[in-house]
Amino acid sequence: MTAHTLSDTGVMLGRSMRHITRSLDTIITVTIMPIGFMLLFVFVFGGAIRAGTDHYVNYLMPGILLIAIASGISYTAFRLFNDLKGGIFERFHSMPIARSSVLWGHVLTSLVSNLVSVAIIIGVGFAIGFRSSAGVLDWLSVVGILVLFTLALTWIAVIAGLSASSPDGATAFSYPIIFLPFVSSAFVPTDTMPGPVRAFAENQPVTSIVNALRALLQGQPVGHDIWIALAWCVGILLAAYAAAMVIYRRKFA
């Protein structure tokens, strides 16, 4: 990226961020559902779930963070769709602006807003008893994984936002992504699941990401989960980025 592209992206990011700061309800809406799940599973179901830990909130937290991000990226697709339908893309293209900066503005806005949502959820988690024995490096690793996960999902959201024909279509793609953590190690250990469900749960991206985050937050050895998690995130990110750029170029060839 040249300095020109970076400054253009900075301006676009500022524009998108203003939209968010003027409608903070989107961040609240994004966090309400994951917080609702956290309260329900900790205070209602938690006492009956055998997760091999004293405080179920510690077991649950990583999955809730991923659900928060998954529900947050639907707004990225929605904002992108609105810009596309509002004709603002064409206006930007008629100006001396780096083309990719328009997309990157949305992507970075998604990153910032989702990290704010994640921070709120961690705050609520601490309020209801979440405790972590992680050091500074562990926390930085957690943030890194969450950033990578957000970027991977955001580029998927870009595809939906660019190619949808209605606002509902732009956001609907996020539902299966929100559902994935449920059939993973996020809520209960996978070894308590029946055969086929367990096979799916243990071989889908969320489980390795959740396991890596959980180990980092509890100051335990992460094993090979972190490499599987990174492979999934980077793989999805590259595939989604490539596909999004192809669609973007087709739209504005």
Binding site: F43, F45, G46, I49, F182, F187, V188, T192, M193, A201
Partner: protein
Amino acid sequence: MSAHVIGDTAVLTGRSLKHVTRSVDTIITTAVVPIAMMLLFVYVFGGAISQGASSGKYVGYLLPGILLMTVASGISYTAFRIFTDMTTGIFGRFRSMPIARTGVLWSHVLTSLVANLISVAVVFGVAFAMGFRTGVGVGAWFAVAGILALFTLVLTWAAVIPGLSAKSISGASAFSYPLIFLPFISSAFVPTNTMPGPVRWFAENQPVTPIVNTVRALFAQQPVSSDIWIALAWMVGILVVAFAGGMVVYRRKIS
């Protein structure tokens, strides 16, 4: 009810049921969320959930709560159908005809009862496919059917009020969301003794828990204890209040 009222109600129930049979997707939609919950909790969470004293398959523990959720999600359609009739002016047309006034409302209530019992039967079918088994006799089955019918009537009369007084379609059906949520904070999914103090207190003193416990005990061929009387007291109490409220709103609307 005179023969005239019963005859009118039967005709109007036939009309409402035709609407339901022409859009079978409403029954499917009603059953989809509870079935999804049942699949999720049995096949994903079930192995990790401790049922306390209740041994055996988790699907057997879970089913009573899922049945109540099915009914709760089904009655939003009752409110929706009443709201649609109100806004399209069909109530006004019926009033100009020699029809028993209460027949119009009762037809919606009975349609709700039939549609919800079909949804419940669908959920039962899925539960049996997932391994639910019970060795209960005919008497216990009748008792379960009676409790579910009474629960449906209670919620249906509760649905009549928003159906008559709502200003929008979403307003008419939105009241059902807290009702669908109630089984979550009850003994439907996990034993209440695993919950922390205040949550446990709420769970043990809200209407869904005694109803769930009663249905579960009937299925498991265990003594139903005092739960059945608490369940009946809740249901009859809410039914009387909702019926009175529904009739007051109805008279105000059409007077």
